[in-house]
């Protein structure tokens, strides 16, 4: 029976600090920035965030 083919480079290394620690923090931070931008955009549109003119 032939071996299952390995997809080289397709797996995240188990011992990677970057993927273990940095990536989840980045995801969380980008999510927080997204929420902040949405609130700011609605705030500017509906007038509860001050606008410099």
């Amino acid at each position: 029976m032939p071996c299952k083919p390995k997809l080289h480079g397709a797996r995240i290394p188990a011992d990677s600090t970057f993927f273990g620690k940095v990536v989840p923090v980045l995801m969380l931070e980008l999510g927080i920035v997204l929420a902040t931008i949405v609130v700011l955009a609605f705030g500017v549109a509906f007038g509860f965030v001050p606008v410099a003119r």
Partner: protein, 247 residues
Amino acid sequence: MLTNNTLLPFFSTAVMLLFCVAVLRHFFARWELHFLFWGIGLLMFSFSSFAEAVLALGWSRWAFFSWYFFGAALNAAWIGQGTLYLLFSRKRVLPWTALLLLGSLAALALMLQVMPLLDETLFNPQSPISEQYSRIMPPVREGATIRLATPLFNVYGVIALVGGALWSSYLFWRKRVLPNRVIGNLLIAAGALVISFASVLTRMGFGAWLYLGELLAAGLLFTGFMVAARFRPNKLRAAARSRLNAE
């Protein structure tokens, strides 16, 4: 005279056009709708950046139209729609696509309605258009209803695009596969957030950052797309299968 206001939009246009060609080539090779919506959205982004460059050289009514309609109003929503097609079935996305098409047509009507009301005497070629558009365009109560629609398109687009990219990144990360897609999607999310933040700042009256934000976003989005598209499991699987068959 060549200034940052002229040069940055030209660079953004060049990057976006390259990106757009790359995405549309994928569409014509695979006929997948997410590539089509991304391609149209990126083409809108390119029109808008080019219009900025034209407006840095002098006033043009139709350059202003392109800048506001394609750039400020529509492009984020169209790119975001592409991400919805990537994540959900066609059947689920269809009602949203119909809504986007109708909304875009309504926005076109509103934009054409405001065109005769533009006050081009207030245009100053020394300032970026993003700093002066709110003076050239009348307020909402005087006929610029399009200004009410713009945040809706943008919020829809940024939630779909950034939310979709973060969700894809999380799924690949959780399954511990395709690290390039984890990174590529994070770069796409970051690029979309940069341009969204620059747009919100513009609406808050700080338009000087928009051009730099566009260039940075164009670079991040393009890099993210290239990194995510670099590794194709289907291709590899096909190659592995043909190797096994040969053995």
